[in-house]
């Protein structure tokens, strides 16, 4: 396929620095994610990955530099229909929160202040469709708190999907789920990326999985260590990223299995 124009940028970090008080979390990062990518931001714990996406979503303001979402400064961004977000799921977060799966997803369809929504129904067609997409439709009437972490993640993914966004941002989506759940989740993301043409940005510390799943990898350790297609990542770069030699053979072996 030939195309004259490159895909437009979706998220741009332009010489971004962010510090929590004295502690610099992200330093002079310049990185652009384009439409259609399945991009992974990879790095060890505390490397500033989550900070980077919180900056992109306007949840934090950069100390220096600029962050743009669909070409607009993320602090002024208002077109949230185009963006879905799935935060890290920590076990037990919603233990005391009385909310059903359908209601959780219906929240995602929010489009501005809705008086009388207190009386609204949550089994609307778009909610059912989003739950079908993540294979959770039969849990619609269940309480979110009754589900496992992996199931809760899929519900939150449906919540991000329900407004048919162009971009979905996921923070450590595989944390706290087992290998088969992880494989299902990545299959879903690949499908959203290819079939629905949704740009996916996910944060992870799992090198092997990201080398398999992502089309582009940004390696972060406070500063940007590397950015490019995932299959070009070398063991020297991984060693630089993590500060220790990492056995890439494991991941090559996984490659051959596919």
């Amino acid at each position: 396929m030939t195309s004259a124009l490159p895909p437009p940028p979706v998220i741009e970090w332009d010489h971004v620095t962010f510090a929590y008080g004295e502690a610099v979390a992200v330093e002079d990062v310049s990185l652009t994610i384009h439409a259609g990518e399945l991009a992974a931001i990879l790095g060890p714990n505390g490397s500033g990955k989550s900070t980077l996406i919180r900056l992109a979503l306007g949840l934090l303001r950069p100390s220096a530099g600029a962050v743009r979402l669909f070409g607009r400064d993320s602090a002024d961004f208002a077109d949230w229909d185009r963006v879905g977000y799935m935060p890290q799921v920590v076990a037990g977060t919603w233990r005391d929160f009385p909310i059903t799966v359908a209601e959780t997803v219906a929240h995602g369809a929010y489009r501005g202040i809705a008086p009388l929504a207190i009386f609204g129904r949550s089994d609307r067609p778009e909610v059912v469709e989003a739950l079908e997409a993540v294979g959770m439709v039969r849990y619609m009437g269940r309480l979110l708190s009754e589900l496992s972490v992996g199931q809760q993640q899929r519900v939150l993914l449906a919540r991000a999907l329900v407004r048919q966004p162009e971009l979905i941002v996921l923070d450590e989506p595989a944390a706290g789920i087992d290998v088969s759940g992880e494989e299902q989740l990545y299959a879903l993301l690949r499908d959203f990326n290819r079939e629905r043409n949704i740009t996916i940005v996910l944060v992870s510390h799992d090198i092997g999985a990201m080398m398999r799943e992502a089309s582009t990898l940004a390696c972060l350790n406070r500063t940007l260590v590397r950015h490019g297609p995932s299959h070009e990542l070398t063991s020297a770069e991984i060693a630089m990223l993590y500060g220790v030699p990492v056995d890439v053979l494991i991941h090559d072996a996984l490659h051959e299995h596919r």
């Binding site: 919180r54 979503l57 306007g58 949840l59 208002a78 949230w80 229909d81 963006v83 879905g84 977000y85 935060p87 977060t93 919603w94 005391d96 929160f97 009385p98 909310i99 059903t100 209601e103 959780t104 929240h107 995602g108 929010y110 489009r111 501005g112 202040i113 809705a114 008086p115 009388l116 929504a117 207190i118 609204g120 039969r138 009437g141 269940r142 309480l143 939150l156 919540r159």
Partner: protein, 295 residues
């Protein structure tokens, strides 16, 4: 007609109690779900400082308290949202700061008097028509606010960041919620007292959260518990001459106990049934068995 309904002051007391029982849990559910229950106690002590200043300077204590609590709510919310202080420490600073100021002001003004005691422990029997109208006003405001912004408030309680990425105006709503909480506490404490007003925001909500399967029903349950507790508490207070605030909160706690008991009994009953039909069900595996209930 029962003798409790023959006195004007008692009718006003009942009206005040019912309004507090309705009002406090309606806001309280969002406070509790955001794990910010301590804000109620904190703002109650800020309001107490307002009362002390009002009494000492001979200005309207209720209005000074209302101003102080609103201002306190804004300060606490700013500290919380900017992450300057971990939530509970910010609250501790404001709570003890206000309480210490109140105590000092009271000392300078010449010690405790009956009026202050009525604020500390509530004096539902001296609820004035003005108090009642103020309560009606704040109740109408809160019901309208929660009605219009229910989904927004639910999203904020669920996850603040997710709400923001969904386009919810979290900053303005959190501030409004804090200020309304301050006003609710100030006006409710006339009825149940500084020391117990927090209980009315938290305990009925705990009953609702235990029993309900949705936020709406949790809120409705909490309001019913709040109103029933207020009526029962006042009735008990009237006939056995006890503290109305204390009796109200004890009734709410009794209902919380009943909710836990009900859940325990239900769970025990379900296990009993599962045990007797266990052999047949286990052939298909326990998870199949569970799905049958939901289809």
């Amino acid at each position: 007609m029962p003798s409790i309904l023959l006195y004007d002051f008692m009718l006003r007391a009942l009206a005040g109690g019912v309004l507090v029982g309705l009002l406090a849990p309606t806001l309280g559910i969002f406070v509790v779900l955001r794990r910010f229950s301590l804000i109620a106690d904190t703002l109650a002590h800020v309001a107490l400082m307002g009362v002390a200043v009002g009494l000492a300077t001979n200005t309207f204590p209720s209005l000074v308290a209302l101003g102080a609590a609103s201002l306190g709510a804004i300060v606490v919310e700013q500290l919380r949202s900017r992450g300057r202080l971990p939530g509970d420490r910010a609250l501790a600073v404001v709570l003890y700061g206000s309480l210490a100021t109140a105590v000092v002001v009271i000392g300078i003004a010449g010690g405790f008097n009956v009026d202050l005691f009525s604020f500390l422990f509530g004096s539902v029997l001296s609820v004035s028509p003005l108090d009642l109208w103020l309560l009606v006003g704040i109740t109408a405001t809160v019901v309208l606010f929660v009605g219009v912004f229910f989904v927004d408030l639910a999203q904020i309680a669920f996850d603040d960041d997710l709400a923001r990425v969904n386009g919810v105006r979290t900053g303005a709503l959190n501030l409004a919620l804090a200020v309304l909480t301050g006003a609710t506490i100030t006006l409710s404490m006339r009825v149940v007292g500084v020391l117990l007003v927090g209980a009315m925001l938290v305990i009925p909500v705990m009953v609702g959260l235990r029993l309900a399967r949705s936020l709406r029903t949790a809120m409705a349950t909490a309001v019913v518990v709040g109103v029933v507790s207020a009526i029962a508490g006042l009735t008990i207070a009237f006939y056995v001459d006890a503290s109305a605030g204390g009796a109200t909160v004890l009734t709410a706690l009794g209902l919380l106990g009943l909710a836990y008991l009900w859940i325990a009994v239900r769970r025990w009953g379900r296990r009993g049934r599962a045990g007797s039909s266990g052999l047949a069900a286990n052939r298909n595996g326990p998870s199949d068995h569970r799905h049958h209930h939901h289809h």
